[in-house]
């Protein structure tokens, strides 16, 4: 069994949240260093505010100011902070019931050591240096026994473009999200990728239906049987069908316009997507014979990108009947 290949996959996007009337006013309050909850049908004050009543499902709108200090209800210790957490040194995660609130909110408490926190410990908000009407205006909490962190008066805070007037509800909040994965190829795909690193195109044949798959799947999608019979495929074939991408979008790796289509290698029974160059987009045809143009060998890795593109061979097009079953 070969060791599967791995590669990092990182995704990030600055998502925008339209907040609605309740959360919009909560965020606007943060810009002025005020915390507001919402009163539910049973009189309880929920902090952070919720939009719909947990008992009656009715929309909630009665905002209730609460204090920016309160008591720890329960807690745990984060000995090794992770990227993106509120503090970069060991801290407590605590459920904190602010004075005037009936429900606790979760936040970080900067108290130095686990011995410095317990149920009932009084804590207060440490505000961001420049509150802007965003949830991160609450930087963290700190014990009230500690000297207050110096913060400029709220009026000196520079309003952010998203909260031009802090008294008005904040309408949109940006929440950047980043995901980091380690993407693993299957053992069969790894063999194929190692083949690519040597300039080979390795497929596998199903023992039942004789269809040749590239990249190999490990099992035939039709018969479910392991595909162990390896097939070396040539780096030429036909373009079955294609489109011309004219539209730009965030994260795009190839500058439009470009021709992308299904390349059916000679001897394979399934096409894969690649790009066709060295031919004007309007000259590209279904059934056109194409061949691989490899990047310089020193640039090869474990990827289909070793083939820079496919180009027409100039041979007469394959008859439609010969590839129609692959459309």
């Amino acid at each position: 069994m070969t060791t599967p290949l791995e590669a990092p996959l990182e995704l990030s996007f600055d998502y925008t949240r339209s907040l609605g009337p309740v959360l919009g006013r909560f965020m606007a309050g943060l810009a002025e260093r005020r915390i507001t909850g919402v009163r539910g049908s049973d009189g309880r004050v929920h902090v952070p505010p919720i939009e719909y009543d947990p008992v009656t499902y009715a929309p909630l709108s009665e905002l209730a100011p609460v204090a920016d200090e309160g008591a720890v209800v329960s807690w745990t210790w984060q000995a090794t902070p992770l990227e993106g957490q509120p503090l970069d040194r060991p801290f407590a995660w605590a459920l904190i019931r602010l004075d005037g609130a009936d429900t606790p909110m979760l936040h970080a408490v900067d108290c130095g050591a686990p011995e410095a926190i317990g149920a009932g410990t009084r804590v207060r908000v440490r505000w961001a240096q420049q509150p802007v009407g965003h949830i991160k205006d609450i930087a963290c909490f700190e014990p009230t026994s500690a000297p207050a962190s110096p913060t400029p008066p709220a009026s000196a805070a520079t309003p952010s473009p998203t909260a031009a007037s802090p008294a008005e509800p904040v309408e949109i909040m940006t929440t950047p999200i980043r995901l980091r994965y380690t993407h693993s190829a299957s053992p069969e795909e790894s063999r194929y990728l190692r083949g690519l690193a040597e300039g080979r195109l390795l497929g596998q044949r199903c023992p039942e239906c004789d269809q040749v798959y590239i990249p190999p799947r490990g099992a035939c999608p039709v018969d479910g049987l392991p595909t162990t019979d390896e097939v070396d495929l040539p780096d030429r074939g036909i373009l079955t069908t294609f489109c011309v991408v004219n539209v730009p979008f965030p994260g795009q790796r190839i500058k439009p316009p470009y021709v992308t289509g299904y390349i059916l290698l000679d001897g394979a029974d399934i096409g894969f997507l690649h790009q066709v160059l060295e031919c004007a987009p309007e000259e590209v045809r279904m059934g056109m014979w194409v061949e691989a143009v490899w990047k310089p060998r020193e640039e090869w890795g474990h990827t289909l990108r070793n083939i820079d593109h496919f180009r027409p061979t100039g041979e007469p097009d394959a008859p439609y009947e010969t590839y129609q079953r692959h459309l």
Binding site: L5, A7, P8, L9, L11, F13, Y15, T16, R17, S18, G20, E51, Y52, D53, P54, V55, T56, Y57, P59, I177, H183, A185, C209, Q211, V212, Y213, P221, V222, T241, F242, C243, V244, V245, N246, V247, F249, P250, G251, Q252, R253, I254, Y258, T260, G261, Y262, D269, I270, F272, L273, H274, Q275, P281, M286, T303, L304, R305, Y320, Q324, H326, L327
Partner: protein, 362 residues
């Protein structure tokens, strides 16, 4: 997201003359979480959609999810598990960028992906080659659906003045798909109450539902006329007692995110023989007033809140047989199809609703 869903739910409950205590369970559908960047939005939406203290199920079958959501809710009622189930589906595309989310650069592969349009455009080209359809068919569909959308107060795009020529003059995005032949990015939600017994107003009776699935890729896969879609349709017609869909169905709400999918799905669903779907479109038979009006609501081409789009098709079919479709009502509609597909044409969900109770008068 919460307010978006709730607006649809409040209207559905008011229309049915029901209140929260009448609802036994909630089924929520939406497409990939990467579209809003909220993992498992059902967690934070539970109170907004009235699920507190009730069973909540989340459904996900890519673009077809709205349809699957309706079918899961219907199944709970048909099975006798619950009397009244609320089906809700939504998407809020303005919070992100679906092109980005559908073009993730998977390691080791060629980064040629270009969103849903980039995926489907080659298969549209295959359809055109296979059927020998004239080039203007896609523009006919687009102009028709956008004009229909102008009759629907809930449609995102309302283009009463659009013409086939204007569509043909619009920019080519993913050749052969033009800008005006492409669905918009929409925010929207849809809610439907499915009940074992009639509620207020005329009912839409569910005569049959069907779902089928196939792998995204396998050797010899028909990407134009997907087998799972054809088999779902055959099962639907069989279970509903339909022997001649074109004559027995009065109106169809079909999932057409790119205009060419109207003739493709007409064939896949069995309304016409393979290769002939475009003839029905070209003859104007899919207009309101034609033999089989398709997407009188304006369809996905006029509004595409992805997760909701399938349930919107199902709900619009129900509105038609209830006679509640307003300015886009098809006269005398008594039997209507709702259709959705998702993934790389691999998930299909269908329902057939009628003004009459199956097996007898209402």
């Amino acid at each position: 997201m919460a307010g978006l869903c709730r607006e649809a739910i409040d209207r559905a409950l008011a229309d049915a003359g029901l209140d929260w205590p009448d609802i036994d369970a909630v089924v929520l559908g939406k497409a990939p979480d990467l579209f809003e960047g909220v993992m498992m939005p059902e967690l934070m939406l539970a109170d907004a959609i009235g699920a507190t203290g009730k069973p909540l199920l989340r459904v996900h079958t890519a673009g077809s999810v709205g349809g699957s959501t309706g079918i899961v809710a219907a199944s709970l009622v048909q099975a006798g598990v619950h009397d009244r189930v609320l089906a809700v589906a939504f998407e809020k595309q303005s919070e992100s960028n679906a092109m980005w989310a559908l073009s993730i650069p998977i390691p080791f592969q060629m980064p040629v992906g270009a969103g849903a349009g980039g995926y489907f455009a080659p298969h549209v080209r295959s359809y055109i080659r296979r059927s020998r359809a004239p080039a203007h068919i896609g523009a006919i569909v687009a102009a028709k659906d956008r004009r229909n959308g102008a009759r629907n107060p809930y449609a995102h795009l309302k283009q009463a003045d659009i013409t086939v020529e204007k569509v043909q003059a619009s920019r080519m995005l993913w050749d052969p798909i033009r800008y005006d032949e492409t669905c918009p990015s929409s925010d929207g939600a849809c809610a439907v109450v499915i009940s074992a017994a009639p509620t207020s107003g005329p009912a839409a009776w569910i005569h049959a539902t069907a779902m089928r699935t196939e792998p995204t890729t396998f050797a010899g896969r028909d990407q134009v006329n997907a087998r799972a879609g054809a088999e779902a349709a055959q099962a639907l017609w069989r279970d509903a007692g339909i022997t001649d869909p074109l004559h027995q169905v009065d109106v169809a709400e079909i999932y057409v995110p790119f205009s060419w999918f109207e003739p493709m799905w007409l064939e896949n669903l069995g309304f016409t023989p393979a290769g002939d779907g475009w003839r029905l479109t070209e003859a104007g038979e899919t207009d309101i007033g034609g033999r089989l009006p398709v997407n009188p609501s304006g369809g996905v081409l006029s509004s595409n809140p992805i997760g909701a789009s399938g349930l919107l098709r199902f709900a619009e079919a129900a509105l038609q047989v209830r006679g509640r479709a307003g300015d886009h009502q098809v006269d005398g509609a008594r039997t209507a199809l709702g259709h959705a597909y998702g993934g790389g044409s691999q998930f299909f969900s269908l329902w057939l609703v009628g003004a009459d109770k199956p097996g007898g008068a209402a």
